[in-house]
């Protein structure tokens, strides 16, 4: 029977290897300088198919904007859950809500973004996409922040108070810096998750074939562009989609690797 378990693990890893090998091998052929340096060109035009520069920049901007909202709210929420907890019912409810929100299908988040941010504004826009991504980030960052702050021994806080610092000072100058590694872990996990999302962007940012820095209008993203190309018939665009997927996977893999590197040296003996 134990051989069966080894077989299970081997099969799972085997499938992973299959999936990754396929994506890497087809992606490798299509990644070139043009991919990073050029914007998409339509079929029949000079320079077809161009590249995915606009989508790479677009995802970077969307994730950046999402973090600008999601990271502070998430970290502060985690701070509340770990350090303040002024009312038991609030703390429990917030913690529960964070767990529950983390499991909401991302397409439903996209629909919320559409109803609240696209319809009133009058058009698809990048802000709606960024905020939908922030919606997904916040519960993740909140919970990981709380967990990481819990790992900091109480003695740190007590020593700080004993030296005359206020609670706020303790948190900002002592606790948070001590947990930096863990906080970065949480943020990076959230970033990696959000960078790979497509569904929330389908009807918020919509997508664009132009290089643009203006989130008030439809905004390109790597995942949406990959989806469009992959479900289309044009062979050259499909190759671009493979390259895009490879870049995305490399990005996410490196984030996960960095997370591992960060968590190891900063383990506290509880």
């Amino acid at each position: 029977m134990w051989m069966g378990c080894i077989a299970c693990a081997a099969i799972i890893l085997g499938v992973l290897a299959l999936v990754l090998w396929y994506l890497i091998s087809i992606g490798r052929q299509s990644v070139n300088l043009a991919f990073f340096a050029q914007d998409p060109q339509p079929y029949g035009a000079d320079g077809y198919p161009g590249g995915m520069r606009n989508a790479l920049v677009g995802t970077a901007i969307l994730v950046g904007l999402a973090s600008a909202v999601g990271v502070p709210v998430g970290i502060l929420g985690g701070v509340y859950l770990s350090e303040y907890r002024t009312r038991a019912w609030l703390t429990e409810t917030v913690r529960f809500t964070a767990d529950v929100l983390a499991g909401v299908p991302s397409i439903v988040v996209g629909i919320l973004g559409y109803e609240l941010l696209v319809v009133p504004l009058g058009h698809f826009n990048g802000w709606a996409g960024a905020l939908a991504l922030a919606f997904i980030m916040i519960p993740i960052v909140t919970r990981t922040t709380e967990e990481m702050l819990h790992l900091i021994p109480g003695s740190y806080r007590e020593a700080s108070i004993a030296l005359g610092a206020t609670k706020a000072r303790t948190i900002v100058r002592v606790v948070l810096p001590a947990a930096t590694g863990g906080l970065i872990t949480g943020v990076m996990l959230a970033l990696a998750r959000v960078a790979g999302e497509t569904a929330p962007l389908l009807f918020t940012a919509l997508g664009s074939r132009l290089l643009t820095f203006d989130p008030r209008y439809p905004f390109p993203s790597l995942t949406k562009q990959i989806y469009d190309y992959a479900t289309g018939p044009y062979a050259e665009q499909k190759q671009q989609a493979w390259a895009g997927i490879l870049i995305l996977i490399v990005l996410i893999f490196s984030f996960n690797l960095l997370v591992r590197l960060f968590t190891r040296p900063r383990q506290f003996r509880a």
Binding site: A9, F96, A98, V100, I107, I138, T231, N256
Partner: protein
């Protein structure tokens, strides 16, 4: 959102009393104020989470109201999803065209009809099939990680499995579309279909066409996507089984498998929770499924028939719903999806956390 009045009520860390003699200096008043500000801001951020969930539910319910009013609860069991009106000749009971007094055929307009049964069916069956494939592999792998693998192997394998969780859904979709679907279409589905069709009693499982883009392919892709989640959580749950339990069972003469079975039985509520988390992900998964499931709103018993899940329906139709009623119907589907995933997550959390505590393991 106001912070507590009495500073002494906050747990863990005492804050400065405003009546302390040194509070008279401006510096201390500033410090106390910043204390309050941080508390308010942190509480506000935490409350923001409640607002996010509230907004989600409120907006969906509000926008789905026209659909509630038109279809009522029958929405969940009707299988016709027709966004267009049908203009056709009115026919009587014998099928003859009805004519008015001038001898002209009478036309009738059938309004659009929306029923969520096909997508509820698609989500339910694809999730169920995916779990059937995923659970045995996941539990086997979790047992491997906890009981068999040495530390040096368990760590990288765990990392790789957690990396599987992080792979974006669209990557699985592309792999499914270009590798799995053609493979199924050429090598797996025709022979299986032939078997179904020829065996009496099983022929309802057969299908006219086996395209590889169907419920079966969607379920397999989902299975691959939920295996890492179930494995990761099961591994944590199994790790929390007390050594005393394992040693006791072995001491009573149990074989390796009997002990493992005992571990599984001991942590069954946590394992159910892990499975439910996998189920929640399977039900909510959009992109990978939308690319391989065939995108047809129909209820067919064959796994080789094209289907649609709630999330793939939304991905396909939401951006240009052709009428207000269509949009309301889609929003009602989104609401059903939300409620379902919330339910799964709540139950999963209760099982994993509650079950863990009941069996003596730590909280998180």
């Amino acid at each position: 959102m106001s912070s507590t009045a009495a500073p002494a009520s906050s747990k863990g860390v005492a804050s400065e009393s405003p009546h302390h003699s040194s509070f008279r200096t401006a510096r201390h008043r500033r410090a106390y104020r910043s204390d309050k500000i941080l508390e308010v801001v942190a509480t506000g951020s935490a409350t923001a989470l409640l607002l996010l969930l509230g907004a989600l539910v409120a907006v969906l319910v509000y926008a789905a109201v026209p659909s509630f009013r038109t279809f009522g609860l029958a929405f969940l069991v009707h299988s016709e999803w027709r966004p267009n009106e049908l203009e056709r000749f009115k026919r009587d009971a014998q099928g003859q065209i009805v004519k008015d007094q001038d001898g002209e055929p009478v036309t009738e307009t059938i309004p659009p009809a929306f029923g969520a049964l096909p997508v509820i069916y698609g989500t339910a069956v694809s999730s169920a099939i995916s779990l059937t494939f995923a659970v045995p592999f996941s539990l086997g792998c979790a047992l491997f990680l906890v009981r068999i693998a040495p530390r040096s192997t368990a760590k990288p394998v765990s990392f790789l499995i957690e990396f599987l969780v992080a792979i974006p859904s669209i990557a699985y979709g592309i792999w499914g579309l270009y590798i799995l679907a053609p493979f199924l279409q050429q090598h797996v589905e025709p022979p299986l279909n032939a078997v179904f069709v020829s065996v009496p009693g099983l022929h309802w499982l057969g299908s006219d066409a086996t395209t590889g883009r169907d419920l079966f392919c969607g379920s397999l892709v989902l299975a691959i996507m939920v295996i890492p989640i179930i494995t990761a959580v099961s591994r944590d749950v199994l790790r929390a089984v007390p050594r005393a339990q394992i040693e006791g069972t072995t001491a009573l003469g149990a074989t390796w498998w009997q002990t493992s079975r005992e571990m599984l039985r001991y942590s069954r509520s946590g394992l159910f929770g892990a499975i439910m988390l996998g189920l929640a992900r399977a039900a909510g998964e959009t992109m990978a499924v939308a690319m391989v499931i065939g995108n047809v709103n129909q209820v067919r018993p064959s796994p080789f028939a094209a289907a649609q899940t709630m999330s793939s329906l939304l991905a396909n139709e939401f951006a240009e719903a052709s009428s207000d009623l269509h949009r309301a119907a889609l929003l009602e589907v989104a609401l059903v999806l939300l409620v379902m995933s919330l339910l799964f997550n709540v139950v999963a959390r209760w099982l994993v956390v509650g079950g863990g505590q009941a069996s003596g393991a730590g909280g998180h």
